[in-house]
Amino acid sequence: MNEKILERMLECYDSSSQQDKDELNHLLENHAPERQAFIIHNMDEEIIREEFRLEHVEKIFADDDLNSESVEPTHRASNIVKFYPILAVAAAIAILFTVGIGYQKFIQKDNNDDSIVAKPIADTAPAWCAKLMDYSSDTQWSGELKRTAILNPGMYELTKGTTLIEFSNGVQLTVESPAKLEIKNSLEVILHQGKVRANVPEAGHGFVVNTPDIKIRDLGTEFGVEVGESDRTQVHVFHGEIELYENQKTIPVKAYEGFAAKWVSGKRTKQMVANEAIFATGQDIALEQWKHHQASLKKDPSLLVHYDFRGSGDIIKNTMSDQYSGVIHSPIRIRGRWLDQSALLFDSPDNWAEVDLPTVEGDFSLQTWVSVDRLAFSINAIMNTKKWNPDSLHLQLSRRGNLHLGVKGKNIYDIYSKEMIPIGKWIQLTATYDSERQQMSLYINDKKVSEKQRDIKRVVFGKTLLGCWIQGGKRVRGFRGRMDELSLRSRCLSPDEISASYQLGQPAP
C-alpha cells in the first residue's frame, strides 16, 4: 500500500474543489489497496469516536455517581458502557414507536416462546407526526387549517397570531407569525421565516431545526430561533445545550445555556446573550387562551360562583358577584397553573378554607383544578358541605386516588371512578348532574370516569369546606396538594364543554 496515495486521497476528500473530487474518484477507482486503506482510515476514526464517546459518557456518569454518593460509581459507569450497543438498538426500536406511523407499540416478552411481540399500548395511540394545539380564535393560516389539526409533513404558513405545535415525541414548538414552517418529520423542521421556541423533552432529543443559514440539533434543551428577511438567523439557548452546524460543516459546534448569536447569509456575525423575553412561551399562549375562554365563560348566566383564589389576605372572592365569598384559614397562596399566584396550598392540618355556596335545584356542574402532592388520608377531602344532612355533597379522593362524589338524597348516592388520579400533575375534576336523565357523572380531565342514574332533587351547599372535613368539632379529613379555581354552575356541562375547558385550562410546560 502506498501511503502517499492514501494521503492524497484524504487531502482530496477534505477539499471542496471539483478537480480534487475527480482526482479522488480516479484514485479510489484505480488503487484497490489504497482504497481499502481509505476505508479502514474511516472505520478507525469511527472506532476512535466510539471509544472516546464512551469514555466521555462513562466520565459524566462516574462524576454523577460521585456527586450522588453512589457506593459503586465505577460499576455503574462500566455497565453503561457495556450496554451502549444495546442502547443503540433500543433507540432504533424507540424511534419505530415514536416516529414510525402505525408502530406505537411496546415490546413484551412472550412466555411461551423466544419471540418478543410488540403489542399496541392502546387502540387510540396517536398515529400522527405533529398536532396543532391552538384553541384561540386570533390565529390565521394561509390555508384551511382546523385549530386542532393533525399536521403531516409539509409546508405551513402562519399569517397571524402565535400558536403551539406538539409533535408525537412530545416536542413543543411555539410559533410566532409571520412564519413559514416546513415539517419534515417529528424530529426535523425547516424554519423558512418567523420565530419558534422549542421545548424538547427526553423523547425528542436530536430534534433538528434547519434554517437557511444553519442547522440546530437539540441535545436536551429549550431554545429559540428566529429567521428574518434576507437570510438572517438568530439562535438563543435558554436551557441545556445544542449543536450548531454552520457553513454546511458536518462537525458541529456546541452551544450552551445563555448563548445567542446572529448569522447573515450563513456567516456568524454577532454573538449575544440569550434573551428569553423575545420568544413567546407555551405558557404565554396557554394563559392567553385560558383568559379568552374565561371571559366567554363569565357571560354564561348559569355560572353562579367562580373562585380564582387570586388576591391577598384570607378572603376568597367570588369573581361573579359580591355574594358567596369565602375565607382561608392559615392562608398560603402559591403559584397555580400559571405564573401568577392563584392557587391555594394545602400542606398541613392548618391549611383549609371555607366558602358559602348557593343551593342548586336540579342540574349542576362543579369544577375545579387540583394538583395532588400525596394521598395522605383514607378519605382526602376536596370539597365537602360542612354538614352531612339530606341534600349535602362531598367530593373526595380515596387513598388509592379514586375520585368519589357522594350526595345525600333519600339514600346516600355514591359514585367512584375506577381510574386513579395522577400525583403531582394539574388535573381538572368535574362533577355534573343531569336532572332530565337523572344522571350523576364524574370526569377526570376530559374523560368521563363514572356515571350512575340517581334522583337528586337539589344540593344544599351552604357552608362548604375545602381541603378538610370537620366531624365532632375535629378536622378529620384533609387534602395535601394545590387547588386552582373552583366553579359552580346551575346547569349540566356537556362532555364537549368539559373537554374544551380541559384543553384550554391545562398549563403548557
Partner: protein, 174 residues
C-alpha cells in the same frame, strides 16, 4: 393492525453486530455525520424487517444488504454539488466495506492497546475532538496551537493508530 415482531435471537445478533454495521456504513459513506444518519435509519429498517430474517440466513450478510440499500439511498438523495463519489466508486467502496467491516470488533479491541502508545497530551486532544465533540478551532485555542497545527497533529496521531492496529492485526504477538 400492524404488529412488530422481534425475536430474542434477532435482537441479540443486532446488538452484537452494531459495530460491524456501523463500520460498514462509515467505510462506504465516508462522512461521520452522514454515516450516523444512515446507521440510525438502517437499524430502524432492520427492526422493521425482523420478521423476514430466520436463522438460516447469515445475519451480518443480510444486515449489510439492508445497509447497502440505505447507503445507496443516501447517495441518491444527496444534492449533486455535495456528492463526492461517482457510481463506480460507490459500488467499489460498498464491496470493500463489506469485506472489511467484520474486522471492526477486533480493531476496536486493539485500539485500546494502541492508545496506550499515544502521549497524554495527544490523547487529551483526541478526547476533546471525539469525546466532547469540540471543533478544531476550540481545540486550537485550548492547546495554544494553530488550526493547521491541530489538524496535522490529529492526522499524525490517527495514522499512528491505524498503523499500530493494522500491525497488531497482522502480527498478534506484537
Amino acid at each position: 393492525m400492524n404488529s412488530l415482531e422481534i425475536s430474542a435471537d434477532f435482537l441479540q445478533l443486532l446488538t452484537q453486530y452494531q459495530l460491524a454495521i456501523r463500520g460498514y456504513i462509515r467505510g462506504a459513506v465516508g462522512n461521520a455525520f452522514d454515516a450516523d444518519d444512515v446507521f440510525q435509519k438502517t437499524n430502524i429498517i432492520l427492526c422493521q424487517k425482523a420478521s423476514q430474517w430466520n436463522q438460516d440466513i447469515p445475519f451480518l450478510k443480510w444486515a449489510f444488504t439492508v445497509a447497502r440499500y440505505e447507503v445507496m439511498g443516501h447517495f441518491r438523495d444527496q444534492s449533486r454539488d455535495k456528492l463526492i463519489f461517482n457510481d463506480t466508486v460507490i459500488e467499489l467502496m460498498l464491496d470493500d466495506s463489506e469485506a472489511l467491516a467484520p474486522q471492526m470488533e477486533k480493531r476496536a479491541k486493539l485500539l485500546k492497546h494502541c492508545l496506550q502508545e499515544v502521549s497524554d497530551e495527544n490523547r487529551s486532544i483526541l478526547e476533546a475532538r471525539y469525546g466532547s465533540a469540540q471543533t478544531i478551532e476550540q481545540i486550537s485555542q485550548q492547546v495554544g496551537r494553530s488550526i493547521d497545527g491541530v489538524k496535522s497533529l490529529l492526522k499524525r496521531v490517527r495514522k499512528k493508530i491505524r498503523i499500530c492496529i493494522t500491525m497488531k492485526m497482522e502480527n498478534p504477538v506484537l
